[in-house]
Amino acid sequence: MVEAAPLIRPEAGTAELAVRDLHGWYDESHVLHGINFDVRPGEVVTLLGRNGAGKTTTLKAIMGILSKRTGSVRFMGRELIGLPARAIARAGIAFCPEERGIFSSLSVEENLMLPPTIRDGGLSRDDVLGIFPNLRERLQSQGTKLSGGEQQMLAIGRILRTGAKFLLLDEPTEGLAPVIVQQIGATLRTLKQRGFTIVLVEQNFHFAASVADRHYVVEQGRVIDEISDAELAANTEKLHAYLGV
């Protein structure tokens, strides 16, 4: 274990997303115990942590698909707690779940075109197929007939279309070949340049380090530390302790 780290309480204001004292439950079990963090516009922020730390749950709580949550999640000044998931999506947040969520009764193409366009400025269908050429060949197959990695590509690809500028990506590189991981890294950097804001949950630390501006460390349903990319080298020791690398 690590020595007790100070709780992070960043001040609000410039943040695009400000999460304060977020608690979350699965039915009866209390999983998030007061999450605090901020994401500034145009930033890539990762949530790091061991298995079961509560990273996925945090994303779900932001997205409004957790059975119960309390606290505050402000997105561009607007409170999201209490809103249904669809309203949160309409507000401009897009979510890519860790289990991918490809629909088996839809073709690859239909899967890709499914999420409605929230506003202008999303990638076009061809942009997405340009990033993930694998998909182009298989547009007419049943969604879940794709290989694990192809499904992952599809899951990322489809939310890029919506025009949402704020992405929640849960382990987007899981199960992807190294070439593709590199490609996704490049894509994320491009997106960042285009002004996207991204919250990334990652196990692949190298990947995370290659794209992110800042890292939050999650443990037992709390954010216990914040490390900026610049400080990374100085903090490897600490991170290894957190993550058990």
Binding site: R50, N51, G52, S147, P178, V179, F205, G244
Partner: protein, 253 residues
């Protein structure tokens, strides 16, 4: 390790077509007894499909499969598991409403043969508890023995799945991306575990985590577009330019 020619699993001209699309075509694969053999390749290369063919979750369109010299090409999946060829799933598969302990015990129970003994008390199963706990301990889940598997986090489900698979004590294990979604600490732990269990078993695994592949595997087969692209040790394969281009990418150390 040098080839002894004792192949536990052999596939010849293995082919699977989905409609007009050949997901796997003419793959020859030979896994030597007692080794860790890795199957890598870009996404959609046909690795999982190969697994499905080898364990008969899919029926090959063409080709033959031999396990311990025995032709298993037409055998149903459950029988293959009984012969000692067992797989794990890429997307994790646990018994969500059973406790972690019960998950492992179900696998241990298999050793009794098919338990159609509905007249006997389930207390007969208590004798597996020690082994089941030990199995959970090996993957770091001892403290979750009583937790329903459905409530475990993703990574822990994966760990549980491995513990369950190991409990079958199979002669040969097929692991589909065992490290996917695992935290670093678990990766090291599970790597060590795989290395340990490989001492008296054969393992065929699909894995995208190259450092794990490099550390563990004795031999590697690279698939691309359903065909074998290269085969050999990590040193050989990782320097093959075709593999670098199709799979590893230039950015990777």
């Amino acid at each position: 390790m040098s080839a002894t020619g004792d192949f536990i699993l052999k596939a010849e001209r293995l082919t699977k077509r989905f409609g007009g699309f050949a997901a796997v075509s003419n793959v020859d694969l030979a896994v030597e007894r007692g080794t860790i053999h890795a199957l890598i390749g870009p996404n959609g290369a046909g690795k999982t499909t190969c697994f499905n063919l080898l364990t008969k979750f899919l029926q090959p369109s063409d080709g033959a499969i031999f396990f311990n010299g025995r032709d298993i090409t037409r055998m149903p999946p459950a029988d293959i598991a009984r012969l000692g060829l067992v797989r794990s799933f890429q997307i994790s598969a646990v018994f969500p409403r059973l406790s972690a302990l019960e998950n492992v015990r179900i696998a241990l129970q298999r050793q009794r043969g098919d338990s159609f003994d509905f007249w006997r008390s389930e207390k007969a199963l208590n004798r597996f508890d020690g082994k089941a706990m030990a199995g959970l301990d090996e993957v770091g889940l001892a403290e979750f023995a009583a937790t329903p598997a459905g409530e475990l986090s993703y990574g822990r489900k994966r760990a549980l799945e491995i513990a369950t698979t190991l409990a079958l004590d199979p002669e040969m294990l097929l692991l589909d991306e065992p490290m996917a979604g695992m935290a670093q600490e678990d990766v090291s732990r599970i790597s060590a575990l795989i290395a340990r269990i490989a001492e008296n078993r054969t393992i065929l695994m699909v894995e995208h985590n190259l450092s794990v592949v490099a550390d563990l595997s004795d031999r590697i087969t690279v698939l691309a577009r359903g065909q074998v692209l290269a085969e050999g040790s990590y040193e050989v394969v990782s320097r093959d330019p075709r593999v670098v281009e199709a799979y590893i990418g230039v950015g990777h150390g």
